[in-house]
């Protein structure tokens, strides 16, 4: 894949290459964060110096279906030696799927000093770069977070209903079979947990992984991404958009692409997504 700077992204600085990461493993003021679906991956070998932030245990509220609160985020930052000024560099498995999810949660708390490793764990290991099983320990920090901002980049069900009634665009990033209602979960995953299949009325289908190159998990160029989201689906940078999937993780990847790589200003991730919408009484559904 070409250099990040030559791909025409609106915010190229949000991405760093694996080479950049290799050259900055010991740079002060940087904290490398791995976030995966498979809990065995980080302990089996990770980028030297990286800490793990687990989407289940670290980012979710222990009881409610919600994210951690201000105090929880501050404690998580402190535990991982992250200050308000630390540049947090995310990477993870599956095209950075879970890394963008963690990145999105960090933005709920305004930690804008954040970057993503283009290609993530897949590219790092494909290039035979060093990994270690040593789990680092960093001195606890004092981190002050604002209250979680649930308005700017997060959408709730009732807001999505208003969005639908206004005829505003949505992006359904699930598989085509989930979009059509044929399946209630990703292909090869169990078909459970949702009572109705289909999609939110008006939603365009753009499976999330189309934004990534399958060979090395890097992001496609801005021109290729525009061809998908704008050429095929008619979206534009001025649109107010809601992205959703099943629980809001795949759509965080699309939120990242639209917001940072294409420079869209008004994209929200509906984390209730299909597990909420497809179980809700009386909401409109299309097939």
């Amino acid at each position: 894949m070409s250099d990040i700077s030559s791909r025409g992204y609106a915010n190229p600085d949000v991405l760093v290459s694996t080479e950049w990461l290799a050259n900055n493993l010991n740079t002060a003021g940087i904290r490398i964060v791995e976030s995966n679906e498979d809990p065995l991956l980080y302990p089996s070998g990770h980028v030297p110096g990286a800490v793990q932030i687990d989407w289940t245990n670290d980012l979710n509220h222990p009881l409610r279906r919600d994210y951690l609160d201000k105090a929880g985020f501050e404690a998580l930052m402190s535990k991982n030696g992250i200050t308000n000024d630390t540049t947090v560099v995310f990477y993870g498995d599956k095209n950075n799927w879970w890394a963008t999810y963690a990145f999105w949660v960090f933005q709920l708390f305004g930690h804008t000093n954040a970057k993503l490793v283009d290609g993530g764990r897949q590219k790092w290991t494909q290039e035979n770069r060093p990994v270690t099983r040593d789990v680092p320990s960093y001195p606890a920090t004092s981190y002050t977070a604002p209250e979680r901002d649930d308005a700017t980049i997060r959408a709730f069900r009732d807001e999505v209903l208003v969005h639908v009634k206004a005829g505003l665009p949505l992006v359904d990033v699930r598989s085509p079979q989930e979009y059509s209602g044929e399946l209630l979960h990703m292909p090869n995953y169990p078909q459970e947990g949702v009572l109705r299949g289909g999609h939110i009325p008006g939603a365009q289908s753009v499976p999330w992984a189309r934004a990534a190159n399958p060979d090395d998990a890097t992001f496609k160029s801005a021109a290729d991404l525009r061809a998908i989201y704008e050429g095929e689906k008619g979206l534009s940078a001025d649109d107010t958009i809601v992205a959703y999937c099943r629980i809001g993780e795949r759509s965080s990847h699309t939120w990242f692409v639209l917001t940072y790589l294409l420079g869209y200003k008004n994209v929200r991730n509906y984390d209730g997504s299909w597990t909420e919408w497809g179980n809700s009484v009386g909401v409109p559904i299309e097939k």
Binding site: D38, P43, N188, G193
Partner: protein, 148 residues
């Protein structure tokens, strides 16, 4: 647990005693590190593998082979095509080390809850179901033989 073959019952009991998540993960990685010992040899299967050996629901692209031993028991082999499919590798090693050569009646009763007994309740739904698919393939091989 009492219905498990002795080797599996012992392993499940060991894991039941692990309360620390990191300790559990380390134990599973140690098991996954032995995956080459259960990988299907080339004289039995070569890529591309038959779809009949493919494990349903497993995103790590796992495959299972069940070969008949002379004493009527089964020898299991596996492959996991995703090099980062460590959880699938770990469960494959467990299944071979504890169920290959075990009485078919016991293999046929293995429950998919075994995933949670080994991996804990925190495992994601998608990942857990993939691992259950591996167990279901192994159990199915024993059930097929008992029916015939």
């Amino acid at each position: 647990m009492t219905n498990y073959p002795p080797k599996l019952a012992e392993l499940v009991e060991d894991f039941a005693g692990i309360t620390d998540r990191n300790e559990r993960v380390e134990a599973l990685i140690e098991i996954a590190d032995r995956f080459d010992t259960v990988r299907v040899p080339s004289e039995i299967a070569t890529k591309p593998y038959a779809e009949t050996n493919h494990v349903q629901y497993c995103e790590s692209d796992a495959y299972v082979w069940a070969l008949d031993n002379p004493d009527g028991t089964i020898k299991f082999y596996f492959d996991v095509l995703n090099p980062q499919g460590l959880s699938a590798m770990a469960i494959a090693v467990v299944l071979d080390e504890t169920l290959s050569g075990a009485p078919l009646e016991q293999v046929a009763k293995i429950d998919t809850e075994l995933v949670f007994k080994l991996f804990g309740k925190e495992i994601s739904m998608g990942k857990g179901q993939g691992l259950m698919g591996l167990i279901a393939m192994v159990r199915g091989a024993a059930l097929d033989r008992l029916k015939s």
